[in-house]
């Protein structure tokens, strides 16, 4: 390692931070791009139904939509609160 590299390595490598942030963001945006437009509304309504029976947070429910060729999968994920699982 040269003297110059030594000084360089002390600075944070902002390009790699940029790359990481972009990879996460782009993956997220690509996934939501292909979603049908009714998805956010459906998520809200499902949440309302579930909340009639179980007390869950807004973040406790997630919906993902995937398209593989002609096959479309809708995945619904609900995380129940701890006390429920215990009981």
């Amino acid at each position: 390692m040269s003297l110059l590299d030594y000084f360089r390595s002390r600075k944070t490598n902002t390009a790699s931070v940029a790359k990481q942030r972009l990879q996460i963001l782009v993956a997220h945006e690509r996934a939501s791009r292909n979603q049908p437009s009714y998805l956010p509304k459906m998520q809200q309504e499902l949440l309302a139904v579930i909340r009639k029976y179980v007390h869950v947070d807004e973040e406790a429910i997630s919906i993902s939509f995937e398209q593989n060729g002609n096959e479309e999968t809708l995945e619904l994920n609900i995380v129940f609160p701890d006390e429920m699982r215990a009981g």
Binding site: L3, A15, A18, K19, L22, L25, V26, E29, R30, R33
Partner: protein, 270 residues
């Protein structure tokens, strides 16, 4: 059959017009009859970069509205007889571009030209979507910078869903990455996304890298597409880009720092 090439980016000011001017001139210089269309309705600038601003009489919207014929509106380049420019109008009417109108013009041009280069405006408004809609090929102009890369990816999404080829389920638009304003020195210092980084994020075929260059301002000052400045780094980069677009195998250049200064030699390098 003509090929319609859209030069797009989403984000503004990244180098679309500079690239459209250089690439269209490059194609024409190689003997392909080419027309370059400015889709930036309300903010035309391609005429200035091409150096034909004083010869604009009619524009794209005039032709769409039937106020002028294509032949009246097309400006023949003075340096290359195979190149024509179709300027944008300065109207503020955003709805001036209709899909039927643009489609008809492109159809007419396709009878006469080999390549139709569409210089897209920034954003995702009408002008940009019209420029993209009929494309066969898309050149996605990107700067090595977070917001530009993100916007490029958004444009890829629109190309894949809202273009003619997407709607008719034809062979998809061929998409290429043109990375410009690249500074290898800053990349080496970890301050700028590298060409590999951007390619990995966007997963696009790399058409070429254009370095940050003083030649660009000189070219726009004088209204000369930078590709005509054959001694300049940017001019050569665009020449390579045209060659690669046409299927030639040219190794990538301008992605590593050229010279090693004395300082670097003294302290050692990689």
């Amino acid at each position: 059959m003509a090929r319609i090439i859209v030069v797009t980016s989403g984000k503004g000011g990244v180098g679309k017009t500079t690239s459209s001017a250089a690439i269209s001139m490059g194609l024409a210089l190689r003997g392909h009859k080419t027309v370059v269309i400015d889709f930036d309705v309300g903010l035309r600038n391609l005429d200035l970069i091409m150096g034909c601003e004083r010869r604009v009489v009619y524009d794209l919207v005039n032709v769409i509205n039937g106020e002028a014929t294509l032949n009246q509106a097309l400006i023949k380049d003075k340096r290359c007889s195979e190149l024509f420019i179709l300027p944008a109008s300065q109207t503020r009417d955003k709805d001036a571009l209709s899909i039927e109108g643009v489609g008809k013009i492109l159809e007419d041009l396709a009878k006469d030209f080999e390549y139709i280069v569409c210089d897209s405006p920034a954003g995702i408004e009408r002008g940009a979507t019209m420029a993209m809609y009929f494309a066969d090929d898309a050149i996605v102009v990107t700067n090595p910078e977070v917001s530009s890369v993100r916007d490029s990816d958004r444009m890829l999404g629109i190309l894949a869903s809202k273009s003619r080829r997407a709607e008719t389920a034809e062979e998809p638009i061929r998409e290429y990455l043109l990375l410009t304003r690249y500074n290898p020195e800053r990349v080496e210092q970890g301050e700028m996304l590298s060409v590999e980084d951007v390619q990995e994020i966007l997963s696009l075929q790399l058409l070429g890298v254009v370095p940050e260059s003083k030649a660009i301002l000189n070219a726009s000052n004088s209204g000369t597409p930078v590709i005509l400045d054959t001694d300049s780094d940017a001019g050569q980069a665009y020449s390579d880009i045209v060659a690669r677009y046409l299927g030639e195998d040219k190794p990538q250049r301008f992605i590593v720092k050229e010279k090693q200064g004395l300082f670097k030699k003294l302290f050692g390098g990689k």
